[in-house]
Symmetry: C2
Subunit: 269 residues, 2 copies
Amino acid sequence: MSARNARPIGVFDSGVGGLTVVRALMERLPLESIVYFGDTARVPYGVKSVATIEHFTAQITDFLLGQDVKMLIIACNTMAAVAARVVAERAVGIPVIDVIEAGSQAAVAQSPGGRIGVIGTPTTINSNAYARRIHALDARVRVHSQACPLFVPLVEEGWLDHPVTRMTAHEYLRPVLAEEVDSLVLGCTHYPLLKPLLRDVVGPGVRLIDSAVTTAELAARCLQEAGLAHTGTLPASYRYVVTDVPLRFQTIGERFLGRSLGLVERVDW
Amino acid sequence: MSARNARPIGVFDSGVGGLTVVRALMERLPLESIVYFGDTARVPYGVKSVATIEHFTAQITDFLLGQDVKMLIIACNTMAAVAARVVAERAVGIPVIDVIEAGSQAAVAQSPGGRIGVIGTPTTINSNAYARRIHALDARVRVHSQACPLFVPLVEEGWLDHPVTRMTAHEYLRPVLAEEVDSLVLGCTHYPLLKPLLRDVVGPGVRLIDSAVTTAELAARCLQEAGLAHTGTLPASYRYVVTDVPLRFQTIGERFLGRSLGLVERVDW
């Protein structure tokens, strides 16, 4: 067992949402250590300009590279949509994967009828990043996208199974469902928490693609292929680094992570 | 007419919401020039820590003092709640007013039964700033507060008269209305856009205190008392300075301002 493979995976997001990816990684790769970075002082990125998002993304990438990570996971759809190139340019020699690549691969594999729905924040949807990656994998697939700006605040309010959330979901999903999609990509790290409600709304004929789960799958394959998987017996360690510890951070973070957060470190930028 | 009185009023907020205060100022004080500062790159403040909010507030105050303003208006409830002291310490020799002071004064004046409801973001409500200021004005008044975290995203989605917003408002306001309040303070600059819907929900017996309108009133009184009112015939000028020009900024900004925004300047921090 090389010390090289014992290095942690770096996972980052604009806030707490990426903890759904950490949760999926803990389940799929229980031996791997993780350093999570959440830019809670500057969240949300989804309403910011591309130049600003690129600048913030570069800062976070450099920070995690300084933690000697063996792989980087962009767990933020907004950063993956508009700033993946910034990460790849900096992270020379280590694999970089992101939620959009993972979700797109899974959606194409699981949509025999060639019709895929994608939901996300306005920035993710307007970037057209999912449609571009899906078409690069299979040019014949038809992609139907829908921005759902209220889903993040509804999740953060904790209204995961609430009539208001249900009514909102029906309104947002009506045009996508009218296209009779085979699958629906949950293109935002907050959305896995709405899975039970969305399952009801879309009905049994539509497969939900949870990009947290698909990202953990892709990470497992990548580590294996690169010979970087950790096979030792040491318990995995988890670190959580944020730029601000806001009100209710612990509560909301633990809802996303599905377990206790432990110690949260704060860096001051 | 002194050149001193022709100087602009500086108005600031964490984002676009403070434009409701600018709109009210334009109507109440049509001769006054205004420099508006919106920290759109770092919005929202409502979920950030006090230390971070103080730091950002100091930066904005210094910027506006550099624009030779004759008065400062804190049009952001979050900054008024937790960082008003930071502004007052820097703005030596010019009047500083804020939305919480204005709303509290109006609420006390318009609540003969001594029962006041206050709604706002979680940070504003948890800061207890309205209750403290109201009690400083009249210790006998009873204040019933309620955080309404979904109202800002609902306004930004443009669902000003939508069944989802109505259902959300009924849920949030139920406990406050059960206390039979005389008035309800709209303790967030986004909320004036929900006034028609909230009027329906609270019914005719409850007076809505719009802190944009009450802030413009307080500004008019303060300028008069300080001998700073502009009485010339030159047309007022309006400048809008932001830290980022995000997606849909123009659309959302104009919805708040109620007129065309014109040129928006961006500063890079």
